[in-house]
């Protein structure tokens, strides 16, 4: 009975832990790493311009009002537009920023695989044993080679 109660308590703790993490108060240091200074074109974390200082004051005010990190980022987007986010949103056209590199990587991998397969079929190897096929000179090349060797025959 006691073991069952302990197990239930552990389960409850495990379920509540992520929720407790989500309720953590927003911090300027964390938000600064995720948003841009629109005028400077750098992360807010690295910016020291007057506009960046105003942006920090704005963020601190929202933190004092008890707003969450997401709410503060939404408020910044409402003020400065999507470009204030260091990472583009994962919806609409901005989703392409995430999808295109993955698709490009897959296409490149597929092209490489197809290329290797074709190369192997076209004679990149000598058949089942996988050994490289020796180059056989043409009749004309053989004649030229013999003539050249004869010229340097000591």
């Amino acid at each position: 009975m006691r073991a069952a109660a302990l197990l239930l308590a552990a389960l409850a703790l495990a379920l509540l832990a992520p929720a407790a993490g989500a309720a953590e108060p927003a911090s300027l240091t964390e938000i600064e790493k995720q948003v841009m200074c629109p005028v400077c074109g750098t992360l807010l974390q690295l910016a020291e311009s007057p506009q960046a200082q105003r942006e920090r004051v704005f963020i601190n005010r929202l933190i004092d009002e008890g707003k969450s990190e997401e709410e503060i980022k939404d408020a910044l987007v409402a003020e400065y537009g999507d470009e204030v986010l260091a990472l583009p949103p994962d919806s609409g056209f901005s989703l392409s920023a995430y999808v295109v590199p993955i698709v490009a990587l897959l296409v490149a991998a597929a092209a490489l695989a197809i290329g290797v397969l074709r190369w192997r079929r076209a004679g990149g190897s000598d058949g089942d044993d996988g050994a490289a096929r020796p180059a056989v000179p043409s009749e004309r090349d053989s004649e030229r080679l013999d003539a050249d060797l004869a010229r340097y025959d000591l």
Partner: protein, 174 residues
């Protein structure tokens, strides 16, 4: 043309297309005198609704890009307000565009300097980019047909307004 050639050409076209797209979207073209000015609608800094430069067609408009965090903008604001009071009317208006700024800070700036001319909001800097600005403040004089007649990068003062803007206005001193 073989399949491989088609793929290679498509690859090259894709790369060139991406480069052109990048240049076209990031580059700031800049307006020349005589060019039609951008007319995209912008929200008003205070209150609801939006306005566009087409609303001012038939009038001369002095478009001033500013931001509350910009010290030279603070320096020029009184001169612009004075010019608006002297010349504002059916034939001329000053129009402020608060760019890359927090709306609350912008509204405070307007109150602090008692600016009476209309103010629009350009939070993401899209309009400033379309005008080809390189910073704030910058001022553009637009004629009644919506064409650019004068561009002043940097702050304006009473002397600049009197010597450069006033002579171009109807009935202005030349």
């Amino acid at each position: 043309m073989s399949f491989r050639s088609v793929i290679a050409v498509l690859g090259v076209l894709a790369v060139v297309g991406l480069l052109v797209f990048g240049l076209a979207t990031k580059g700031s073209s800049g307006l020349e005198i005589g060019d039609p000015v951008p007319t995209a609608a912008l929200p008003q800094l205070e209150g609801d609704g939006s306005r566009s430069l087409t609303d001012y067609r038939g009038r001369w408009v002095l478009v001033n890009f500013w931001a509350s965090w910009c010290e030279p903008c603070r320096a020029e604001a009184p001169a612009l307000e004075k010019f608006q009071r002297q010349h504002g009317g059916p034939g001329f208006a000053v129009l402020g565009i608060d760019t890359r700024d927090l709306s609350g800070d912008g509204q405070e700036f307007v109150r602090e300097f008692g600016l009476s001319y209309p103010q629009l909001r350009d939070g993401d800097g899209g309009a400033a980019h379309d005008y080809g600005t390189s910073g704030v403040p910058e001022t553009f004089l637009v004629d009644p047909k919506g064409k650019l007649r004068l561009h002043v990068p940097g702050p304006v003062d009473e002397q600049t307004l009197e010597s450069s803007v006033e002579p171009l206005l109807p009935g202005g001193k030349s």
